[in-house]
Amino acid sequence: MDAVKAIARRLCRYLVAAATLLFSRRRRSGDGEEEGLRERRTSPSRPAELAVVTLLLLAALAAAGFVAAYIAKADTQVLGLGIGLALICLAAAAIVTGKAVVLQEEREEQRPEFAHPDAGHTEGAELAVTFRAGGEGISRRRLLGAAAGVAGTALGAAVIVPLASLGPAVDDRLRASPWERGIRLVDENGLAVPAADLSAGSFLTAFAEGVDHEELAASVVVVRVDPRDLELPPERASWAPSGILAFSKVCTHAGCAVNLFRKPLYPPQQPGPALVCPCHYSTFDVLRAGEVVFGPAGRPLPQLPLSIDADGNLVAAGPLSGNVGPAWSGVRES
């Protein structure tokens, strides 16, 4: 009787073990959809499905609206709303479907192993061995290597050099300026600028006659101040007839047009009459030959010497006092 009980107990244990094995979660065995599954939630959600249907229909409506609006040449706002709402409704439909309608699962997956070099004999080491094996039998390694290096460098240079076709060499093109003695100043419409047209506080953009206005060096800004306030260096004493001054309009910092003239009528006077660049606020004192009084510019604004010709028009009395526009590495200021 005890032997039978013992056998029965053992049989029970075997059965329980078998059942456990059969019905428990399988981790690595098997190829079915159970592999790696941690959690599954599949209860159907009628409200969610209904929501998705509604959203899809709304999307269709909005898209149809977009087509109709396009045909009717509606405003950009209507067009944008149409296609935008259609896409957003579709987005909502997709998200709700993904989160509440389709099969919900949380799964687990194993990552591939990337061997660490410290881990001993690795695939990486094997790769190196395979690679090196290809060089078995080579005798003059260093010579071959050096020759390959020279050839590679030369070929690399040969490949890069045609890039130079993209543009001109620097040469004196960057320094070029149309201004010289006798060149007349003209306004935006190409008409000469009579000196009498300017009064104290005037501010005008002018160009070298006959030159493309877009050329950086061509544009100057002309202002008129009280001649008694001028503090020009002695060699420029004659550059400002009647208190009329001209400077290059291109900022010496980063090339924006210096399109701002502040002309104080009464205190606060500091800074005094000045040309200011609206990009980074480099400030050039017109009474002191375009000296930088504030801001990141590293060079004063080039000044154009002026004189008044027989007809009373403004003409240049010489070239600009410096290079136009932003400096470049290696430029020498004359």
């Binding site: 405003d75 950009t76 706002q77 944008g80 987005a91 998200i95 993904g98 989160k99 949380e106 935006e188 009579p194 009498a196 047209d197 300017l198 009064s199 104290a200 506080g201 005037s202 501010f203 005008l204 953009t205 202002v223 009280d226 047009a257 210096v258 399109n259 701002l260 003239f261 502040r262 002309k263 104080p264 009528l265 009464y266 205190p267 606060p268 006077q269 500091q270 800074p271 000045a274 200011v276 609206p278 606020y281 400030t283 009084v293 504030f294 801001g295």
Partner: protein, 260 residues
């Protein structure tokens, strides 16, 4: 710095010269608020008288009892003319709270009648009349070109105002055409002066037209977000779009780390 009075005299002299030129132009038109310069001697005298009394009470502490200015307080107003007075009073830039304050646009302190009286009083010393502006006669293309060349450097291309060293150029969103013309011809405070030779009457009309139009810009693309360009655009990109997309991401993904 006590160059004040001499400079003001120089300015007044220049203004007088300018005034002579302006007087050559068409007479002041009867726009609302402009001084009626020649509608009866008796009325005019009464107005000037009233303006004189008002001036004594309100303006003389800085500009002097005879409008010749007070050193270090305020410049002489002789020869500055109706245009300047009209501009400063109507834009509320005068009176200042204290000498040396930066004039900024504000609600006008004086009533219509008071302004007319003060304008008449200062105008009695000579100087430029209030200019006649006809924006409808201006060309919007010429206005765009002139404004870009002469004004955008300080006031920005959409007339939203701007910044420079030691100054903030005001927005022109509230400016009337007359005020635009007055400011152009006067060159108030730090602004350059544009005389008739540089910008003729038609040019002023065009600029006034541009300013009037730009006060309601063409927002074909939708909400204009201030018409100052990439700064509000960047703010919208971050605080509207990126925020909305972050929200969407939160809705899609899980937020508890290791949760779910």
């Amino acid at each position: 710095m006590t160059e004040g009075p001499e400079r003001m005299l120089a300015v007044a002299a220049a203004a007088l010269a300018l005034g002579a030129g302006v007087l050559w132009l068409a007479p002041a038109v009867a726009q609302p608020g402009e001084s009626r310069a020649s509608s009866g001697e008796k009325q005019n005298v009464a107005l000037v008288d009233r303006g004189h009394r008002l001036f004594q009470e309100e303006c003389s502490s800085c500009h002097g009892f005879d409008a010749r200015g007070v050193p270090d307080q305020g410049p002489s107003l002789r020869g500055t003319g109706a245009a300047a007075t009209d501009f400063y009073l109507r834009t509320g830039r005068m009176p200042l709270s204290y000498p040396g304050q930066v004039p900024t646009r504000a609600r006008p302190r004086y009533s219509e009648r008071q302004i007319q009286a003060l304008v008449a009083y200062v105008a009695s010393f000579g100087g430029p009349r209030i200019p006649a502006v006809h924006p409808e006669r201006g060309s919007s293309t010429e206005g765009q070109q002139l404004f870009t060349s002469h004004c955008a450097g300080c006031h920005s291309i959409t007339a939203e105002g701007g910044v420079a060293t030691g100054v903030a150029a005001p927005t022109l969103k509230d400016s009337t055409s007359t005020q635009v013309a007055e400011a152009l011809r006067m060159g108030p405070y730090l602004m350059p002066r544009f005389n008739r030779e540089l910008i003729d009457r038609h040019g002023v009309d065009s600029i006034a037209r541009y300013v009037a139009d730009i006060q309601q810009p063409d927002d074909a693309g939708g909400w204009g977000i201030g018409h100052i360009g990439p700064v509000p655009e960047g703010m919208v990109a971050w605080f509207l779009a990126a925020a909305a997309l972050l929200l969407t991401a939160r809705l899609i993904g899980e937020s508890r780390r290791g949760g779910g």
